[in-house]
């Protein structure tokens, strides 16, 4: 069980809470306290809107341990409208084929369980096709 490692990231995972750089106004996700653009300290919390577009995507058919029940599933790199890109599963795709550039929105979903069925549930961001265009 890895309870603390999931717990300490809950804000990022549940709600895309990142940072904004007070020096250059860049939005940062995941938070890293140092602005990757200007190198200055950046600790101001900033919550991303969750809106973005698919930069690229793939389908996982052989899953790492803990993800087997979900195969096949789509993982994308999503370019958030604030600038940062995030790696996340796409969910609720329906019959619509995924395309690069497709608008998506963040939803909080069950990512996995920590270890076996005795473990805690890990929730986090996924993205789905925008329900409202």
């Amino acid at each position: 069980m890895e309870v603390p490692r999931h717990w300490r990231l809950k804000q990022q995972r549940y709600a895309l809470v990142g940072e904004v750089c007070p020096h250059c106004d860049s939005k940062i996700f995941p938070p890293r306290d140092v602005c990757p653009y200007c190198g200055e300290e950046a600790k101001t919390q900033y919550t991303m809107s969750g809106k973005g577009k698919v930069y690229s995507y793939t389908i996982m058919r052989d899953a790492p341990a803990g993800y087997e029940e979900n195969i096949p599933y789509t993982v994308a790199v999503v370019a958030l409208e604030e600038g940062p890109m995030v790696t996340a599963q796409l969910t609720d795709l329906g019959d619509k084929p995924v395309e690069i550039g497709m608008p998506v929105e963040m939803v909080t979903r069950r990512i996995r369980q920590d270890g076996d069925k005795h473990g805690m549930l890990v929730y986090g961001y996924k993205f789905r096709p925008a329900v409202r265009a």
């Binding site: 549940y14 979900n70 969910t91 609720d92 329906g94 019959d95 909080t108 979903r109 996924k126 409202r132």
Partner: protein
């Protein structure tokens, strides 16, 4: 032992010192549907066994917590408040993902609520969500806090081949209760009516509920909904015709139609809140999501009578009046109808998989 009685039903109604109402609401229905006739084919060999056209099914990565988060975000969007102003985030459900560990704290963190909240979970079968609403009404109506969120949400499970398998569905709604001057719906009064009636239950370690067959109707559903509704109508000195809409717990299409007729509501009054033919019985979410569907179309001044029902057993009745703030607010989040229209049909095997009914061990 004496039983307190009163001849004046108005004295039984729960009313707040400060006028309060629903200031934001949000629905959620997962996108997967399994047709009733598919379930019927599996267990009877013919297509005609189901009381509903289809039911909504949560996706493989969804549960009461994730669904509550989405409904809560919709409610926040419509309320237009800072989530930090909430003083309670309450989730009512009979399918909380954890037996011990609150759903509410996860929902609260996800929507950005503060640490200064009440967040215990509620359980009262299908009326867990409306029970939380009454608590939220009390918390805000007393002035203890300005805003409180109550959610009714379920990923209900029916035992395979059981009658409940046709209807046990996933979905629900979230309401933020707050001052009447900010409300899209003013809450005039509530009233709750309960008794020890074992019509449906699930023991602590069991996966599927048990139920008392026909016992679930007369001494359970009808007695409690009628009991609660009549006290509300009498107490408010109103008749069904004073209400534009009636919405009742909907374990299937028939029960709410029959109880509406018994009480004197017309089919026209209940049709917009009757979602069970299309999504099944969302348990703790059932009456509440019926209400969100009505709020999506209601006009200022419309009166709504909502009565939930939870096995075990009891009903909560609410008398509501729509305010002129409704039109602008309803556009701020996805409507109930949009969620219902967002539909992907799945087969029985996929349904079993999504609901965790295929053993991988």
């Amino acid at each position: 032992m004496t039983t307190e009685t009163t001849n004046d039903p108005s004295k039984l109604l729960l009313k707040t010192d400060r006028k309060i109402g629903i200031i934001g609401y949000g629905a959620y229905v997962p996108r997967y549907r399994i047709p009733g006739e598919d379930i019927s084919m599996v267990w009877t060999g013919h297509k005609t066994g189901s009381p509903v056209k289809e039911k909504s099914v949560a996706g493989i990565d969804e549960d009461v917590i994730t669904m509550s988060i989405e409904a809560a975000r919709n409610a926040i969007a419509r309320a237009g408040i800072d989530p930090c102003e909430l003083r309670a985030v309450w989730v009512g459900s009979e399918s909380h993902p954890y037996a011990v560990k609150p759903s509410g704290t996860v929902v609260a963190e996800a929507i950005g609520a503060s640490a200064s909240i009440q967040s215990g979970d509620w359980e009262f079968a299908c009326k867990a969500g409306t029970e939380a609403m009454v608590a939220a009404i009390a918390l805000t109506g007393s002035g203890m806090g300005r805003y409180a969120m109550a959610i009714g949400m379920d990923t209900a499970q029916g035992k395979p081949a059981d009658a409940l398998e046709y209807t046990a569905a996933s979905g629900g709604a979230a309401f933020i209760i707050g001052p009447a001057e900010e409300a899209v719906v003013e809450i005039e009064a509530s009233y709750s009516f309960v008794s020890d009636t074992p019509d449906f239950w699930r023991r602590a370690e069991m996966k599927y509920p048990e139920h008392g067959q026909r016992f679930t109707g007369e001494p359970a559903y009808f007695k409690h909904i009628e009991g609660a509704a009549r006290i509300m109508l009498d107490g408010m000195k109103r008749s069904p015709s004073d209400y534009t809409y009636g919405v009742f717990h909907q374990p299937n299409p028939k029960f709410p139609q029959r109880v509406a007729a018994t009480l004197g509501f017309t089919p026209e009054q209940i049709k917009d809140g009757l979602l069970s033919p299309d999504i099944g019985n969302t348990y703790a979410g059932s009456a509440m999501i019926g209400l969100t569907a009505i709020l999506d179309i209601a006009k200022p001044g419309d009166r709504i009578l909502m009565v939930s029902y939870g096995s075990g057993a009891g009903s909560d009745a609410f008398s509501l009046v729509v305010t002129d703030k409704i039109a602008a607010r309803r556009e701020l989040a996805t409507s109930t109808a949009e969620y219902i229209a967002r539909r992907t049909q799945i087969d029985y095997g996929t349904y079993l998989r999504y609901r965790g009914n295929i053993s991988m061990e």
